[in-house]
Symmetry: C2
Subunit: 377 residues, 2 copies
């Protein structure tokens, strides 16, 4: 295990993957969920960058976090901001699209193109909403496997994911052991902590107590936006750190006001903006579904030990924890690797300095990027 301190030197990103068009795979067969329910067909939206080589050995699977999606690099038509991980993925970048074929699917249960609660249920002609089966991390991975089968990919060079994406890549190395060469786990956990469950429950309560919630049976244009925005504002604080917030906003005032509901501090303005922009791109039922998938994720299980889950793993694993991450703190990442090492697996752990909190896995520093590059090499 190594401890690596980053300097603050920004990483100069080479060019990006350019104009990208999302793809859809419509799977016309039933998908069975961990809870026994099934849907009769589903669509999975995804993006790919780079080219699959002749022996199909250069695929990298990217698994996104709670609020992420399949659009992690390049630009869609008309966009001015690239995908969410464009600093990491592209030609010459740590996840190098001139060498690797990168696939990023939108998660099952999502709201960005893959079938989820807001999709039309072909049996009723209406959105699934609360009739959508409860999704687990295992279900997400099962749907991704179906996509990879369709793409003719039988071997993944590496599965890479941060946060909820980290849970998915762990599930991959357990459920499809033989298929995964390398697993890169970033700012994740093998078991959602009590505090994280607690925060998610506040967010869920804000949603289902919104008058527009209507027991989940809302019109797409008239959802529980207020509750969802509050959930996001709160969650956003947990993605950052006290020190990061101090550096960025301190106690700077937006305006002088005597009105108790006005924005007063800059950090308040920032949070409200985060809440508002989130509701424009996210569905409340998906938010409930994904937070429950996180909360019920527990590789320790009844025996309170990771060794049972990890016993058959064959992949090389690197986990990276970030010092200021208090949502999925370094020790939870370290424990994953310690358990793998006890089983004699090829695993290593790195801990990086950063003041960005949980969101550090999206940061740009030379040390972090060199580490990812070297691990994939």
């Amino acid at each position: 295990m190594s401890i690596i301190q980053t300097d603050k030197e920004p990483w100069k990103a080479p060019d990006n993957v350019g104009h990208v068009i999302p793809c859809d795979y419509e799977h016309k067969k039933p998908l069975k969920f961990d809870n026994g329910q099934a849907i009769q067909e589903f669509n999975i939206r995804y993006e790919t960058y780079g080219k699959l080589n002749k022996d199909h050995s250069n695929a990298i699977l990217i698994c996104h976090a709670l609020s992420g999606d399949h659009h992690c690099a390049g630009y869609h038509e008309g966009e001015t901001k690239p995908g969410w991980w464009d600093n990491m993925i592209g030609p010459g970048k740590p996840i190098d699209t001139s060498r690797f074929y990168v696939i990023c699917p939108n998660c099952l249960g999502g709201c960005q193109g893959t079938t989820g609660p807001s999709s039309i249920n072909p049996q009723t002609g209406k959105p699934y909403n609360q009739d959508f089966p409860r999704v687990t991390i295992g279900d997400m991975v099962r749907a991704q496997k179906i996509l990879l089968d369709h793409l003719g990919i039988t071997h993944i060079h590496a599965a890479v994911g941060g946060s909820m994406g980290g849970m998915q890549v762990m599930q991959w190395m357990i459920d499809y052991t033989e298929m995964v060469g390398r697993v890169l786990i970033l700012a994740s956990t093998a078991r959602q902590s009590t505090q994280s469950i607690a925060f998610n429950e506040v967010g869920r309560s804000a949603i289902h107590q919104d008058p527009n919630w209507n027991k989940g049976d809302y019109d797409p244009d008239k959802g529980p936006d207020t509750g969802l925005a509050i959930a996001r504002m709160m969650a956003h604080i947990t993605y950052l750190s006290n020190r990061g917030l101090e550096s960025k906003f301190g106690r700077d005032r937006k305006q002088k006001t005597q009105n108790l509901t006005d924005v007063e501090f800059e950090v308040e303005s920032y949070l409200r903006h985060q809440g508002q922009t989130f509701v424009n791109r996210f569905d409340a039922n998906t938010y409930l579904l994904f937070t429950k998938a996180l909360d019920t994720f527990d590789l320790y299980g009844q025996k309170d030990d990771l060794r049972h889950a990890f016993q058959n793993v064959t992949a090389r694993i690197l986990a990276i924890g970030f010092i200021s991450d208090w949502l999925f703190p370094p020790e939870e990442n370290r424990e994953i690797i310690q358990s793998l090492l006890k089983l004699g697996k090829n695993a290593s752990y790195a801990e990086l300095e950063s003041e960005l909190g949980h969101d550090s896995f999206l940061l740009e520093t030379k040390e972090y990027f060199d580490l990812v590059r070297a691990f994939l090499d």
Copy 2:
């Protein structure tokens, strides 16, 4: 400065102060607030325990936290649970009512008897609601000073407060320097952090986006209970610690359910209960007022230095920080004392182990209680 580790031995509390009746002092003169506004009269509700001695030298002032009140010891008629700090205050207890005359007022702007937003504005015959002037920690202290004048108390043996109460006792030692002999600051801060402002803003947003909010002009029986409950659920997490939550609830299930809005984990049930009981005893406008009083509290000021605020302080000061408190973390308490020591003041700092987070200042351990007792002696 000393670092003290507590063992886990529970403190056996002696008898309590028994049956107590709250008192009211109606001040029939105007009170001017820091923001220039005024109210024409106000009531301050308080409790006292013990007896004021002949030379009026044994008074201890207790300042309560955000959700606290004047009822900190003994029992009201019919109560089965005592006041919120009954383990600390009573005959033979660290704040020993057989020696000291203890006064605990409900804060100005509160909702437990002291004039606040839910009180009737004599000029309109209706509740002040949003017309109540914005309150600062300084305003709270000014109102307390008026009460002490009324009670004939010109010297305070000690002012004691945790969290928002800690801010008040610091304000006391600054604004009424000559009057205060000792100051005991528990789990507090000289300046609200950006992260704490951020969490408070989420709570405020939950309240003012509740349909019952009505711009603060709600009927007492039909307030924004949903928003207030959500605010409380979230805030409650910040009063605890991840480790404490793990110990208490872990991932224990309340019930098996597929419904995404049902209570599933024990911690969810606990939080919902916290939210619901809070709305039965607290007013949303007071919540907004008090969180803003916290957020705008800043003894560092423009010069980003505590020395200016503390230069005239004459009291003996002890601050206690708690290791697992991430809301008002140990370092923020330590900084208060460091600044006082640089000015040559009689100040000391102790840091205690506990897994109870911010709420640790309400804990019962022998070391903590011995420390408080010795400081007051």
